[in-house]
Structure formats: structure tokens, C-alpha cells
């Protein structure tokens, strides 16, 4: 049996010890925990004592988190309005059907109760494949870092037909969203513009590190051929779909132009999914510290961006946020479901365990 086998083993070892002197046992393997596979170790076993209470604990924790998430998500206010104008009778239908630049349409919005601040103003696009591979690679990180020669990645938006370099190059930049919005509050029949704050809507790292304008001052010089760093002593060209050059994106704030324009930065951070929303503005907290008061509002839209050709949709979204970010009920519900499943499974396991462990009591 095992014992006598072990005894034989010990005898072998003892033999060695008795003769002593390591010279005779030059081939004897080292007696270390590693070579003898005796490293001390934990051996966790999925026993009922761990699994069932574990499931209960995890389940309760999940339900707790789920409730918190759900309640938080419910408390977030969201106001969403489609303005694609693909159906006749909607406010922007006329703009959608004309090819007029800067066509203006107005959307009336009613806020029933106080929209708690800070309020964020998003535009949303759907069925828009910013995650299409060739679209995503069609940009030049070096150019956006201040080295203006467009790379081949940008094709076919690298050079125009006169072989003039396009800045910023590539599909993403070319297709930049160019609708603009103005929000008015109707107070006693008069329209008061709600001031919107566009500062710091992009990531800090994008604004400060990833994107960098050429060093020319004023910025315009970089684009009109006086930039000595460029191979092509040539005028640079705006992206084909742009109505104004990169250095004039924001006429009111000279530092918000070129590659570090906040709207541009937000657009360049391409979305992962075909339906997405991007931050447009914040409702200025100086003027509306508590958020948007209840009342009637009108949103004046400068309609430029054509989405109907790929059956896309455009919308505007007003939302506030919580500690868990924007409104998303999925996470809370998922936590609740998983938590309840855990508890349910622990009960099932307990029954199974009891039945098979103590069959005598049956």
C-alpha cells in the first residue's frame, strides 16, 4: 500500500544520508520546494460554503448598486428633439429639402419644470458610420500636430485637383458637422438669447497636447503660403465641404481657431457606434446657475449638414449629468437583473446542495 511505498522511498533517501558525503550522489536532484513541486499554495475549492454565500453577497451588492444607478439615472433630465426635417410639416422640412446654405429653421421647445444645471447641449447623429475603418484612418495626426503636409492616409482628401494640400486633410475633418444653434428663451413674448458656453467642451489632452496649430502668428499666415516649413510653397486649401477656412472657425475668439477649435476637436474624436451624440455647448452657468427655468424656448438652427442622403437623423439633446455621467438606464437595470439572478441561483444551488448532500432526510 501507499505507506509501504513511502517507506521504501524513505529508505532510498536514508541510504543516501547514511553513506553521507555528497560526492557519491552527484546526480541527486536538489531538494527544493520548486523542483519537487511542493510550493506552498492556496487551493480554492468551489464548495457550497463559499459559492452560495458568495452568490448571495454579490447578488445583494449588485441589487444595491443597481438601485442606486437606476434612481440616479431616473433623476437625470433629458430633452431630445429630432430636427432632421425628413417628414413634411416638421419645422426643418423646408431647409432639408432646399440646398440653400445657412438655411434657418426654428424649433420650439417647452420646458415644464426647472431643468437643473449644469445643462449640456448636444447634437446627435444616427446611422452615421464614424467607426467605418477607412473613414477613421482618413486623417493625419502629424498634420494636426502642426506639420502641415498631408499624408496618404487622407486620400482622397489630401490634395485638391490643383495639387494643393488640404488642411486639415481627410474624411473626418472634411465631414465636420456645421449646423449651428442659437437658443432663445421667450419671456413675456420677447426672445432673450440664452448664452451658451463653448469653452472646454473637448478633452483637455486633445486641446493641449494632441492637436497643435502651426506656430505662425497670426494663424492665417500658415495657410497663405508664407509658412516656410511646408514643402509646397503653396496656398493651403480648406476641406472641400468647409465654407470657411480653419483659421476663421470662430471669429469671436482668435484662440479658438485652427486645429484647436473646440467644435473641431469634438468632431475629430470619432464615435464608436453609428448612433452618437456630441457635446455642442453648455448652458452658461454664470447666467443660469440653477439650470434652465421652466418656460418656452425656441432653438434657431442654421441648417447646413445634409444627412438625408444616407438616411441619417439629426437631433438636439439637452441633458444634465450625475456622478455616473449621462442618462443611461441600462447599467442600473443590468445590475438589478444580474443581482437578482445571483440571489435566485443561490437559492437553486442551496436546494440542489441540500437535496444531494443529505438525501437521507428526504
Amino acid at each position: 500500500d501507499v505507506k509501504s511505498y513511502r517507506k521504501v522511498q524513505e529508505d532510498d533517501d536514508a541510504d543516501g544520508a547514511r553513506v553521507g558525503g555528497n560526492e557519491k550522489f552527484t546526480n541527486r536532484p536538489d531538494n527544493t520546494a520548486f523542483t519537487q513541486q511542493r510550493l506552498p499554495a492556496w487551493q480554492p475549492i468551489l464548495s457550497a460554503g463559499i459559492v452560495i454565500p458568495g452568490f448571495v453577497l454579490i447578488g445583494l451588492a449588485f441589487i444595491g448598486v443597481g438601485v442606486a444607478l437606476f434612481v440616479t439615472s431616473r433623476s437625470i433630465q433629458v430633452l431630445e428633439r429630432d430636427y432632421t426635417g425628413d417628414e413634411s410639416g416638421t419645422p426643418c422640412a423646408s431647409c432639408a429639402n432646399s440646398n440653400v446654405q445657412n438655411c434657418i429653421c426654428t424649433l420650439n421647445i417647452t420646458v415644464e419644470t426647472l431643468f437643473k444645471g449644469p445643462v449640456f447641449f448636444y447634437y446627435g447623429l444616427s446611422n452615421y458610420f464614424q467607426n467605418y475603418r477607412r473613414y477613421g484612418t482618413s486623417k493625419d495626426d502629424n498634420q494636426l500636430y502642426g506639420v502641415l503636409n498631408p499624408s496618404d492616409n487622407c486620400a482622397p482628401y489630401a490634395y485638391n485637383s490643383n495639387n494643393q494640400p488640404i488642411v486639415p486633410c481627410g474624411s473626418i475633418a472634411n465631414s465636420m458637422f456645421n449646423d449651428t444653434f442659437k437658443l432663445y428663451q421667450t419671456v413675456n413674448g420677447t426672445r432673450q438669447e440664452v448664452s451658451l458656453d463653448g469653452k472646454g467642451i473637448a478633452w483637455w489632452t486633445d486641446y493641449n497636447i494632441k492637436y497643435r496649430n502651426p506656430t505662425n502668428n497670426p494663424l492665417k499666415d500658415a495657410f497663405n503660403g508664407s509658412n516656410s516649413g511646408l514643402f509646397y510653397r503653396n496656398f493651403l486649401i480648406n476641406p472641400i465641404y468647409w465654407s470657411k477656412p480653419a483659421y476663421e472657425l470662430d471669429t469671436s475668439d482668435p484662440s479658438n481657431n485652427g486645429f484647436v477649435n473646440q467644435d473641431f476637436l469634438v468632431w475629430m474624436r470619432r464615435a464608436a457606434l453609428p448612433d452618437f451624440r456630441k457635446l455642442y455647448r453648455r448652458i452658461s452657468q454664470d447666467k443660469y446657475p440653477d439650470g434652465l427655468p421652466a418656460g418656452n424656448y425656441s432653438l434657431e438652427i442654421t441648417y447646413n449638414y445634409r444627412v438625408y442622403r444616407f438616411s441619417g437623423k439629426k437631433k438636439v439633446v439637452f441633458s444634465n449629468v450625475s456622478w455616473m455621467g449621462g442618462k443611461n438606464e441600462f447599467l442600473g437595470i443590468a445590475y438589478l437583473v444580474v443581482g437578482s439572478m445571483c440571489v435566485f441561483m443561490s437559492i437553486v444551488m442551496l436546494i440542489v446542495y441540500a437535496k444531494f448532500k443529505f438525501p437521507d432526510e428526504e
Binding site: 475549492i45 468551489l46 463559499i50 464614424q130 495626426d141 474624436r269 452618437f276 444616407f310
Partner: protein, 1121 residues
């Protein structure tokens, strides 16, 4: 001039005639083992490496990746792993090559011709005469010409050739021996040799030397082979017969067949399947791309003009783009990891102190590093008996002389004989008395023992004799004769000196009729000092009995009785006989013998006939019985193995009774067995009938339906019988049983039995039996043996194990694993084998899981990105996922994991059974892995998708952008697979914990570095993910998502496992539970809870056996049936 274009039929050469010899274009002694030089290394090595399918596949991917229209991933994702693999392999090849280049240039030696000169070994050519000095290594096959020792003897050690360390003797022909060391004479020597063409038989040589018009026969005794070392000989001269690659040693190299494990074979099938699956996925996505381009993409062109306006072409490109992205389903890096794991597990075998045998200072050795997991799947063990089950230390125990049996229970005093070996013990005083009384039969008996053998005597000091015997049996017999006063003193090729009762006698040695496995006997013909011619013969009793004179019939009966008695005690028996020869007849016989001996064709056949002719009408003298003790721990080992459901077949050359008794004493056959069948039929029909009867009595309904197997599926399924049976089959019956018409009948019957013993088996039959089982049973076989006769069986079996014991090293040299004692086999199989198998299977399952999960996420994402071959993860993550983030944890698991420790493995041999049934890794479990991956990847894609859908950060900024989403999914993936690994692993050592946590830490460190400002400013286009880690991983909802996906990935696994453990527990579950229970009882005496993570402590290891788990030792029956 004749140039041989085809295979050489006969070799001709002339000494010292380079021109003549060169005309045959024999190989020179240079052996080109190095493949490269400094300049050719890189191109040649790369060329070779790219011939491997895995590397070629990498290269193909790389080519795809540089086509801009297809490239969906940067080139570095493939190049980094490829360079890593190539560098490691190239480094290994380079070191191997440097070692082999070294050998050729090293030695130089002395060549005899008109001008003496020293040459390098590699410049020696066939026909040269060279001088060898003591302790020099022979590096060509030589014919011995002369030597410094008397009678032209040389002593050689053949350890390199066959591993045997006893000195062997070679003797030159007297005619060449006269040349001495006279350089002039040697340089003038012009003998011609005609001999066999190059071959790989180490033990025989045929040739003829023609010198001065005379012909001389050349045999193995006159040949020095490459690989020998000259010992105890000042110098010798030799004629080069074969050089370089034509030497017998080199001819023996590389001939062994390449063994592969069943997991290897399964993997090959799976890889083909995976390739098919890859093509399927890519086709689905390509079709998807076609539909998308047609319906949506065409409208999307406002923002993204197409390069080509043809959806079909686009979908074709997409197919290849997805081949690049989804390539990770094909487990290329798996092969490298598998090799590492096997190597590691082989080292554990080498390092195991419990398989180290202190008495001979031999550790176990894994000579093959590619078969480990197969050790955990053995179903059939084929064992030799002598030297494997027994110690092969022979003790002369009993004898019968002229019908009188000697050998009872007294210790005999040999003080009357000054030359006695003091270690020799014999238990019957009567025999000594008989010797002293000069009983003629007794004297002849011992004289025979002292004369008829091939032992060498060494007498370093007067009276201190050492015998060098090739087999321990011979040594034991000669030592016995020595102690009874017939001392073998020395031998020359022509004479044997013995001291008979104190008086020196010299016998003229006229012929040795050598022993071999077919003849099973040996004889010598000697002329006594009185001038009497006698033939002395010893051999297997059945063989001798066939050649006895009819006058012995009465004595035969008595002796047979004694022989049966001896065999019943498990002793090895030999019968002894002699005959006096007629001078005239002998003279003409020896003439014919000489003729046959110099014949080139069918020399052996002719000699056999001559031997047969003279070895007849012998007079029986008696028989010897030699005891060969069982090795320590053999019965326990066999019992353990049979509890592990391993079937043990003993294949032995012993006679039936001896084998049967050994069978009982080593627990193979048991008294409580329902029946032990003995098959000893002498004709095909008898054997068939006996086999059928055996089967009927085991399983009445299985009797008549003789097996008609469909040609396609030649697998005999296991048949379950109630009760335990044993089968003993005789050599001649086995010969019939192995015939084509009967082999299935035999196999079916034998496989129903718990134990099978085949007796009187030849080496060839051993291999045939193994092949038979391999052919018809889908089972893994292991052969274990120690002698040259086991080599064929060791090579034939899936796994060959060599015992390094008394009979040289030949078995070890051709084996896959070797150790010193049979009992180590249970540790090799039940501990190392089981662990290796478990680890390999866990590794494979987990590896497939992690890579499939990784890849399938891309598949789901395709449906949301217009089938554009957009990756989900960052390219750096794709590059490093297999290389850095998940490599070490899984390696750690497959090097350290153990479900239960070694002691428990021994206590529950049943734990071995799942391996035999391929339960841990099979097509089914592979399929389960894929399904599991499918589930995990769905969770890993859709949970982040839903959690990030239309949501933002807590400061209102974007979070659903591509880069954040990529970071989120890849972090979820890494957490999920790491936690999954945690559930696979059952043995958490500090190292594995370090690997798992370290890899996760590494992931964050590398990610933060890659996404840092510094890296971006150095190379903006290579690190576009700048800031993503900082921005995303600071968000609570990101972490909540990671947590949710991880839990959701493992919850079903835990639930399933737990429920399976309760509903249909496997043997592993039962043992773990027992272990847990025992631990809880042992350590925390009054503890209610059953569940506890247990710390495996020393105390558990040293004292695990409580009464409830003790295995009852069976009482070993000592007597025969």
C-alpha cells in the same frame, strides 16, 4: 574503374592503397554535422524557419497587411511576435550548430604510411591504417590489426554505443597481429578486405581478409566501432573499413521514429477545423460587407468616397481584411507555448527526488520532452520481467544433479576453498559433501559451469578474482562453480584455465557455439588436459530436452519434477548436458565449421545447421535454479496501476511456471481472481478454441459472434466483464495467436482480462504484441524494459520507458523516459503523467477560450461598423495581448497547477482514469470552449455597447468615442479572461499569483505609457490614443461596466461547475471534497462549515493518511496455482 551509383552490395578495399580505395568513392571520415557558417546562417536559417507552417502563415499575414486596400491592422501587430519567435528559434539553432561544429576539428591522430604523419580524424580515409592509444576515442569503424597486449587482445568500453560499461575484448587475427608496431611492416601491409556494405547492426559483422593468398574470416570480434573507447591497452593499429556517415554508429542515428502524442494529432485536426471556421466567419462578414455597401455605403459616399465602386470587389477585400483581424483564432503562438510547457514538465521529472535511486545514483530522466501529457493517458503497460520487475541480481539458489536435488535451508561453509567469493551464500551442505566426495556427476556439473560461458576474469591480485559477465545469470553460475571448487581463472582465445579442487587445469578451447535468442543455448567444445574431447551445453530446459540421448529418459523425469518445483518457486532454470566427442568426427566437423565461418553468404544459417548437428544425443547432467528477487515496491506499484485501470501485460522470456509465479508474487495474478486462463495450445485450432473457451467463461454471450470489423474503423471496443480474470499464454501459442486470422480473437480475450502474462516471448513478439494493441485499440501504450531484447517493444509503444539496471543501457538509449526502479513507474504515471495531462488540457482549453473570446468581439463589432474590418481594440493591445498580457499567467498555470498533491494522487489512483478516456480535452470540450467564448464575447461587446450608448462623462464630455470604447472593451476582456483563469487554476502558488496580478499591473502600466503625452510627442502617428486612459479610466460608469462584464462572464461558469459538482460529481470532485473534509477535521477540530479555502500545508502532506483512506494490502500469495 567502377563507380557505384546504386546501393553498395559489398565493400572492397585494400590496405594502404588510397588510389584503389578512392575509386569506390567511399565516404571519408568527415561528418558534416554543422549546417551553417557565419555568412549563410541568416538566409539559410530564415529559409528553414519559413518552411514551418506557422511562420509561413505569419508571413502570409504580413504580406496581406502591406497591401493598403486590405490592411486593417498595422504591420507591427504581426512583425513583433514573428520577430520574437524567429529570434528565439534562430538562437537555439545557432547554439546547436556551434556545438556540433566543435567535435569535428578536435581530435588528431597518427596515420601509418611511408611518411609518418599526424592527421585530423576528419581526413582519415577508408583503407588507411591508424594508430590508437589508450583511452582514445575510436571515430571510424576499424578492423583490428595488432595490439600491445598479449595475444593481440584489446579492451574496449562501448558505453557510447550501447551504454554497457563492462569492458569487452576484441582480438586481432594472429596473422595481422604479427605486424606488431613495426611501422615499416604496417606500411607494407597490403591485405584486401571484402565485407558487408554499411549497415546499422552493431552486434554483427561479416567479412573476409585476403592476405598473402590466404583467406581469413572476419567477425564482430575483430572490429572496433566508432563510439568505442580504448581501455587498458597501450596501443593498437587498425585498418579503416567505414568512415564518417557510413560507420555503424552514424547509421544508427536518426532512425528512430518520431513519436507524437494524441493531443498533437487532435490539435492538427482542430487547426484544420479552425481554419475552416475562420474562412466561414470571414465569408459571413464579406457577405455582410457586400450587403452593407450596396444598401448603405453607397449613400454614405458623400463623406467617404469609394476607391472602387463595386460592392463585390469591396467584399473581396473585406474578406482578406478580416482574415488579418481574426487571425488570432488560429493558435499559432500555441505551439511555442506547448513546447515550453512540455519542456518544463520534463524538467520536473528530471528533478524529482522521489524518482532518484540513491543506490546507483541514478535520477529519472525525461529523454523526450514532447510526450509528457501522454503519460497521463496510459491504458496498457507492457512490462519485461527480468530486470524490470525483478532486480536482475542473480543468486544461485538450487540445483539438481543426476536426479538429486540440492538447496534447502542451511548456510554452507566454504572455508575449504581459498578462492571462494565471500559474498556467496548457499543453503545446502549436502552439495559440498558431494563435491568433496568427488562424485563424478557433481564434478562434471561444476566443470561445465566453469567452462561453458563467456565470462571474462580479471585477477588484479593473486586470489582476488573479478568476473565480468555480460549477463548476470552467467556471472551467478560461474561464481557458484567457483565456490564449489571449480574456479574459472582466466581465458585466452584458445584455452580456459580453471582450478579444479585446488589443482590447475588448462582446457583447450576448440569451439564456442554461441548463445542467441533463437537457439536459447550455448555450448563449448574443449579438450581436457587428458586429451578427452567433450561438448558442454547449457540452455533452456525444453531446448535441451529435445536434444538428449534416449538413455536419459528416466533422469529426465526426475529432473523435470525438480524443474517444476524450482519454477514453482519463481526461479530461473537452466538445464545442463554434455557429451564426449569422437576425435575423427570432430576433425571433419571443425573443418566444415571453418568453411562456414568464412562464407560470406548465409553464414549464420550454415553455422546453425552445423551446431544443430553436433548438439544432439546429449547426456543430461542436471539443472540449475537461479533466484532473481523482485524489486522493492513492485507488488504495490502493480496494484496501484491496476487500480488506476491500467492493464498490465508482462512479456517475459521465462518459462510459464516461473512467469506465473512471478505473476502471483508481484500481485499481477491474485488468488481471489475468478479464473486464470492458461493458453498453451500447439496448433492454430487449439489456440483458437482455448481463447474462445476463455471468453465464454468470462462472458457467455460474447462467445460466438466472432469479430468482423469494418475495414474503415479498426477499433476494438472495450468489453466489460464482471469479475477479474488473468490470462497466461505460452510462447508457441502466442506465435499462433499473433497470426492474422487469430489476432483479433486473442486481443478480445486478452483485453477482457485484468492481467496478461506472455511467456517464452522473443523480442520480435514483444513488439508484435504492442503493435497489435496499438493497431486495434484506441489506447495509449507504454512499454517498460531494461534489456536489449526490450528495445523493439520500447520503440513500438507510444511511450517507451527504460530501466537503467544491470543489463546495460541499450533499452535506456532507445527509451523516452528512464529511471532505475520499476516502482518509479507509478510516480511517473500517477503523479507526473496525470499532472502533465491535466496541465496541458487546462492550458489548451484556456488558451482557446482566451483567443476565441478576444477574436469574436471583432466579429460582433463588424455588424456595427459597416463590416469595414475596423478593430475593436487598440493596435498595441492586439500586438501585446498574447505576448505580454496573458502569456505568463497561463504558463504559470500550466507549470504549477495540481488538482491534488502527489500523496492524494497515490491514494486515489482512480483519478488517473479521466486521462485514459480523454475527458479533459477532446473535440467536445473544444466545442464547449468555443461556445463559452461566444457567450463571453457577446457579453464583452454588448454590455459596454449598451452601457456607453448615448451616454457621456460626469462632466458632460464625450465618452462613447471609439478610443474610449476600445479601451473599455479591452480592459473588460483582460479582466474577464484573468478571472476565468483564476477559476481554471486550482493551485495558487506565489508565483502564479504574481504572474496573474503582475500581468494585470503590466497592462495598466503599458497602457498608461502608450497613451502618455511623452510617447505621443515622440511619434504622433504611432500613439494616437493619447489621453484615453486618463480620461476614461477616471469615470465611475466605466468601472461599473468593467465590473459588470467580468462578473457576468464568470457567473454562469461558477454556477454550472457548482451544479455539476453536486449533480454528477466527477472523481476529482469527490477527492477534492474528501481532501477538504479531512483538512477541516484535522486542523479546525470543531468546525461546522464545510466550505473553506484551504491552505495546503506541510502538515497535510506529511500526515494525510487516516484510517478511512488506507488501502488494504492484499495478502500476496506465494504459491503457484
Amino acid at each position: 574503374m567502377v563507380v557505384l551509383f546504386f546501393s553498395e552490395l559489398e565493400r572492397k578495399l585494400r590496405a594502404n592503397d588510397r588510389e584503389y580505395n578512392l575509386s569506390f568513392k567511399y565516404a571519408t571520415n568527415a561528418i558534416k554535422t554543422s549546417k551553417y557558417n557565419l555568412f549563410t546562417f541568416l538566409p539559410l536559417n530564415l529559409f528553414e524557419q519559413f518552411q514551418r507552417i506557422a511562420n509561413a502563415y505569419f508571413l502570409f499575414l504580413l504580406v496581406l497587411q502591406v497591401i493598403p486596400q486590405i490592411s486593417s491592422l498595422s504591420w507591427f501587430t504581426t512583425v513583433v511576435p514573428l520577430i520574437l519567435v524567429l529570434t528565439v528559434t534562430a538562437a537555439k539553432d545557432a547554439t546547436d550548430d556551434i556545438v556540433s561544429t566543435f567535435e569535428n576539428v578536435f581530435f588528431s591522430l597518427f596515420i601509418v604510411n611511408k611518411r609518418d604523419r599526424t592527421e585530423k580524424w576528419m581526413n582519415v580515409q577508408v583503407g588507411d591504417i591508424i594508430k590508437l592509444e589508450n583511452n582514445q576515442f575510436v571515430t571510424a569503424d576499424l578492423m583490428l590489426l595488432s595490439s600491445s597486449e598479449p595475444l593481440n587482445l584489446v579492451y574496449i568500453e562501448t558505453a557510447e554505443l550501447d551504454g554497457e560499461t563492462n569492458l569487452k575484448v576484441r582480438q586481432a587475427l594472429p596473422v595481422t597481429g604479427d605486424l606488431g608496431d613495426d611501422i615499416e611492416k604496417l606500411a607494407d601491409f597490403n591485405g584486401e578486405v571484402r565485407c558487408e556494405p554499411p549497415n546499422n547492426r552493431l552486434d554483427r559483422f561479416k567479412g573476409v581478409l585476403t592476405f598473402a593468398g590466404q583467406k581469413y574470416s572476419l567477425d564482430n570480434e575483430k572490429i572496433l566501432l566508432r563510439g568505442c573507447t580504448l581501455r587498458n591497452t597501450e596501443w593498437c593499429f587498425g585498418l579503416v573499413l567505414f568512415g564518417g556517415p557510413e560507420t555503424k554508429l552514424m547509421q544508427n542515428c536518426g532512425k528512430s521514429t518520431f513519436k507524437r502524442t494524441s493531443i498533437d494529432r487532435l490539435m492538427n485536426i482542430l487547426v484544420i477545423f479552425i481554419f475552416g471556421f475562420l474562412a466561414f466567419m470571414c465569408s459571413v462578414l464579406a457577405i455582410g460587407n457586400y450587403m452593407w455597401e450596396k444598401n448603405e455605403g453607397s449613400q454614405f459616399t458623400v463623406f467617404l468616397p469609394r476607391l472602387q465602386d463595386n460592392p463585390a470587389f469591396s467584399s473581396f477585400l473585406t474578406f482578406w481584411s478580416y482574415v488579418i483581424i481574426l487571425n488570432t483564432v488560429v493558435p499559432i503562438s500555441l505551439y511555442v507555448s506547448v513546447e515550453i510547457i512540455r519542456l518544463g514538465n520534463s524538467f520536473y521529472i528530471d528533478w524529482d527526488r522521489k524518482m532518484y535511486f540513491a543506490r546507483s545514483d541514478t535520477p529519472a530522466e525525461a529523454r523526450t520532452t514532447t510526450l509528457n501529457e501522454e503519460l497521463g493517458q496510459i491504458k496498457y503497460v507492457f512490462s519485461d520481467k527480468t530486470g524490470t520487475l525483478t532486480q536482475n541480481i542473480m543468486i544461485f539458489n538450487k540445483c539438481t544433479i543426476n536426479g538429486k536435488c540440492y538447496g534447502k535451508i542451511y548456510t554452507v561453509d566454504f572455508s575449504f576453498n581459498p578462492l571462494a567469493d565471500t559474498r556467496f551464500v548457499f543453503h545446502d551442505h549436502a552439495l559440498v559433501e558431494a563435491v568433496k566426495l568427488e562424485n563424478p556427476e557433481v564434478h562434471t556439473f561444476f566443470r561445465l559451469l566453469a567452462l561453458c560461458h563467456t565470462v571474462m576474469a580479471e585477477e588484479k591480485k593473486e586470489g582476488e578474482l573479478f568476473y565480468q559477465a555480460q549477463s548476470p545469470d552467467e556471472g551467478a553460475l560461474v561464481t557458484a562453480a567457483r565456490n564449489f571448487g571449480f574456479v574459472f581463472r582466466s581465458r585466452t582465445p584458445d584455452s580456459i584455465s580453471i582450478v579444479e579442487m585446488g589443482k590447475q587445469h588448462s582446457y583447450e578451447l576448440l569451439a564456442i557455439l554461441d548463445f542467441n535468442n533463437v537457439r536459447k543455448r550455448m555450448s563449448v567444445i574443449v579438450r581436457s588436459p587428458e586429451g578427452k574431447l567433450s561438448l558442454y551445453c547449457k540452455g533452456a530446459d525444453t531446448i535441451i530436452y529435445e536434444r538428449l540421448h534416449q538413455s536419459c529418459s528416466k533422469l529426465m523425469d526426475v529432473t523435470t519434477e525438480h524443474l517444476n518445483e524450482f519454477a514453482g518457486d519463481g526461479l530461473r532454470t537452466l538445464a545442463l548436458a554434455y557429451k564426449d566427442l569422437d576425435e575423427e568426427y570432430f576433425n571433419q566437423w571443425i573443418q566444415r565449421h571453418h568453411e562456414a565461418n568464412t562464407a560470406l553468404e548465409d553464414r549464420e544459417g550454415k553455422l546453425d545447421e552445423l551446431y544443430e548437428e553436433i548438439e544432439k544425443d546429449l547426456l543430461l547432467l542436471g539443472a540449475t535454479a537461479i533466484e532473481d528477487k523482485l524489486q522493492d515496491g513492485v507488488p504495490q506499484t502493480i496494484e496501484q496501476l491496476s487500480k488506476a485501470d491500467i492493464k498490465i501485460w508482462v512479456l517475459t522470456g521465462d518459462k510459464q511456471e516461473t512467469a506465473e509465479n512471478i505473476g502471483y508474487s508481484c500481485n499481477l495474478l491474485r488468488e481471489e481472481m475468478n479464473d486464470v486462463f492458461i493458453i498453451s495450445g500447439n496448433s492454430l485450432e487449439d489456440v483458437r478454441q482455448e481463447l474462445r473457451n476463455a471468453r465464454t467463461s468470462m462472458k457467455p454471450d460474447a462467445a460466438e459472434n466472432s469479430v468482423f470489423l469494418p475495414e474503415m474503423d479498426k477499433v476494438v471496443t472495450d468489453e466489460v466483464v464482471s469479475g477479474e480474470y488473468g490470462l497466461v499464454i505460452n510462447g508457441h501459442s502466442l506465435a499462433y495467436a499473433l497470426e492474422h486470422s487469430l489476432e483479433l480473437e486473442f486481443l478480445r480475450t486478452a483485453c477482457m482480462c485484468k492481467a496478461v502474462i506472455c511467456c517464452r516471448v522473443t523480442p520480435l513478439q514483444k513488439a508484435q504484441v504492442v503493435e497489435l494493441v496499438k493497431k486495434y485499440k484506441k489506447a495509449v501504450t507504454l512499454a517498460i524494459g531494461d534489456g536489449a531484447n526490450d528495445v523493439s517493444m520500447i520503440k513500438a509503444a507510444h511511450i517507451g520507458v527504460g530501466i537503467s539496471g544491470q543489463e546495460g543501457m541499450q533499452a535506456v538509449l532507445s527509451s523516452d523516459y528512464s529511471f532505475a526502479q520499476f516502482r518509479f513507474l507509478q510516480r511517473l504515471l500517477l503523479v507526473h503523467g496525470r499532472w502533465s495531462y491535466l496541465r496541458m488540457c487546462k492550458f489548451l482549453r484556456y488558451f482557446f477560450y482566451k483567443n476565441f473570446t478576444f477574436t469574436f468581439v471583432h466579429f460582433w463589432f463588424a455588424f456595427f461598423c459597416g463590416f469595414s474590418a475596423q478593430t475593436v481594440y487598440d493596435e498595441w493591445f492586439i500586438t501585446l495581448y498574447n505576448l505580454m498580457y496573458t502569456a505568463l499567467p497561463v504558463l504559470g498555470m500550466s507549470l504549477f497547477d495540481q488538482d491534488v498533491n502527489d500523496v492524494w494522487s497515490f491514494q486515489h489512483p482512480q483519478l488517473y482514469v479521466p486521462g485514459q478516456l480523454n475527458l479533459y480535452f477532446s473535440k467536445k470540450s473544444f466545442f464547449k470552449c468555443a461556445l463559452h467564448s461566444c457567450y463571453s464575447s457577446l457579453v464583452l461587446f454588448f454590455i459596454p455597447y449598451a452601457a456607453m450608448y448615448d451616454t457621456v462623462r460626469d462632466d458632460g464630455k464625450d465618452i462613447a468615442d471609439y478610443q474610449s470604447f476600445a479601451l473599455l472593451t479591452q480592459t473588460c476582456l483582460l479582466f474577464a479572461v484573468s478571472i476565468q483563469l483564476g477559476f481554471e487554476m486550482s493551485y495558487w502558488t506565489a508565483v502564479t499569483i504574481f504572474f496573474v496580478l503582475g500581468s494585470l499591473a503590466m497592462y495598466f502600466a503599458v497602457t498608461f505609457t502608450m497613451y502618455s503625452n511623452g510617447m505621443f510627442t515622440i511619434l504622433p502617428s504611432a500613439f494616437p490614443f493619447i489621453g484615453t486612459a486618463r480620461n476614461t479610466l477616471s469615470q465611475p460608469n466605466v468601472w461599473l461596466t468593467i465590473f459588470l462584464t467580468s462578473i457576468l462572464c464568470v457567473l454562469p461558469v461558477v454556477t454550472c461547475r457548482f451544479l455539476m459538482m453536486q449533480l454528477c460529481p466527477t472523481i476529482n470532485d469527490k477527492v477534492s471534497e474528501e481532501m477538504l473534509l479531512l483538512f477541516v477535521l484535522d486542523v479546525f477540530k470543531p468546525v461546522e462549515t464545510r466550505g473553506k479555502i484551504i491552505l495546503q500545508s506541510r502538515s497535510l502532506q506529511s500526515n494525510p493518511v487516516t484510517s478511512s483512506f488506507r488501502i488494504n494490502a492484499d495478502i500476496i500469495p506465494k504459491d503457484g496455482p
